[in-house]
Amino acid sequence: MEIKKGIPVSPGIAIRRAFLLDTEGHQISKRFIKSGEVEAEIARFDAAIPRARREYEELRKESNPEIAQIFGFHQMMLEDPSMRDEVVRWIQESKFTPEYAVARTFHKKIKALQASRDEHIKLRHIDFHDVEQRLLKALAGGRAQDVRRLEEDVVLIAHDLTPSQTANLATTKVSGFATDAGGRTSHTAIVARALGIPAVVGLGNITSEVANGDLVILDGTHGKVIIQPDEETLREFRAKEKQFIEFERSLTELRHLPAETLDGHPLTLLANIEFPEEIATALENGAEGIGLYRTEFLYVTDPEPDEEVHFKAYRRGVEQLDGRPLVIRTLDLGADKFTEGVLPIEPNPFLGCRSIRLCFVRIDLFKAQLRAILRATAYGPIKIMLPMITSLSEVRKAKVIINDVMEDLHREKVPFEEDVEIGIMVEVPSAALIADFLAAEVDFFSIGTNDLVQYTLAVDRVNERVADLYQPAHPAILRLILQVIEAGRRHGIDVSMCGEMSGEVVYTIPLLGLGLKTFSISPGTIPEVKKVIRSITQKEAVQVVERIFTFSEAKQTDNYLREKAKRIIPQLF
């Protein structure tokens, strides 16, 4: 039994078999076995040979004579006793896993072949490689397990998880994530929280410590991964797992209860989504509407958007919400996603032509999306939200374009809501600092803490070297948030927060104390945020804020807030 420590990024317990992924999304295996396992591993290898052989039988039957002959050759290689002898020797003497032994055996031969001066002989290394792969597949259990078609629930273990890998997951079968790399704000963390499954990142070298199929306990609350647990530990964690499930169930009971403080102050909890299909889950979790509909997915599937495709998606959203509000954020991507009009390669994409700036260069794109949004306003309450605003002139310019589109629609006699609300994301420090000017000319604010923190603290949150400098509780951030909320209040406009920070229970109390009335968060986190809200008074929240505003260091603030949150919702700490 081995215990590995990492960074806890999504709470909960998962007790499942490990499924290892390499950087290309394929399974990888570890290299060494223990002395006691030698016999069993040799047997496992011996069982894999007939499996691989059968595959060749099948292939030979289906192929023309020429190709069948090649497979015959491959089959002979599998049956070659000297091959088996060599692999077994590696297993016995060097305690290699069969996978590693096969790799060593074949690689030696492949290298020898590649050294031949004769082209024909040299080319045969491809055949050796083929046999090696087939043998490895057979060792992996019949067929290589495809992460898209998992058969049982697993804990996914990888060096790191990319957005495209997680997009392909059979998410109902993944019970948790554990990665070598990553930090609190890495992609793995965000996806895990969105899926409501435990995750531990920053484990260092978990991928070389765990083998496929090993039983692991993943404790996402405390950042622990236990490999091959003993009986006692297993019992202990099964009990903890039960407790956590109980806790989650108790949270779902809050679903239909109002989000209000102990002293009766009502708050609004909205959800962040990427597709209209997520609305159902959001509503189930108690969302009162959608505070952020990220439209990027529509562009990722097709950079040159079809107005109809967008319109249909927005209309579907609004219909599912049945009268509840839908805030649609306009195009928030970088130039690298588009081919014309702007240089795709920018040295500093985050400070470059992206989002609203891109919209001003590619007005055709902007107008197409605006048309789709406006047409959808005829079906229900939709608000338009402009991202990455840094100045008032940008707001005015955007409004001119929106008016143009409205005129077009008028002329075409297409119905839409004339008084559609237009608001902005406050996610750039300059916008926060001139919030009063902006508040006078927009209908609402939404504080985008993800980028606000990055820009203000000059931190790239996916850069592991500096990721721990990403601190939402930094006094600079708290001051900016206060400034924005105050500006909104003075001008009578709604202020919501849609960044990750608003969904983290550690920050719920201070955000309440700062005067935030609307939280737009990942659907899975709605119940727990609601629990915190229902457990304190607005008065206490204000007191907490007064205290933390005396702290000069984020760490002090975080420690203090942790203690507070832990008392209310200990199961998450």
Binding site: I70, F73, P81, S82, K109, D118, I121, L123, R124
Partner: protein, 98 residues
């Protein structure tokens, strides 16, 4: 691989030149191994100072024997004579390739 022949065991050895165009590539290697496996004798093939088990496709491939190279086929066992003769014939027939 080398075993001193017992009294009843025959040892047969023959030098054969590879005359087919592409030498001991996949197909001939397969045929050679398949043929060798049909005999009970222990059979080895030597090229220069590398000696391999004729029943092992891996071994034969490792010889990387090109066209024109000379192989020494050695068999030890009751059917050593037939084994060597078969293999020699196969090589001289250019593995039925041409």
């Amino acid at each position: 691989m080398e075993q001193p022949p017992g009294e009843t065991e025959k040892v047969v050895e023959r030098h054969v030149k590879l005359i087919n165009k592409y030498g001991l590539h996949a197909r001939p290697a397969t045929l050679l191994a398949e043929t060798a496996n049909g005999f009970g004798a222990q059979i080895t093939i030597r090229k220069d100072d590398q000696e391999v088990n004729a029943k092992s496709i891996f071994g034969i491939m490792m010889l990387a024997a090109e066209s024109g190279s000379t192989l020494v086929i050695r068999a030890v066992g009751d059917d050593a004579g037939e084994a060597v003769a078969s293999l020699e014939a196969l090589i001289n027939k250019k593995f039925n390739e041409e």
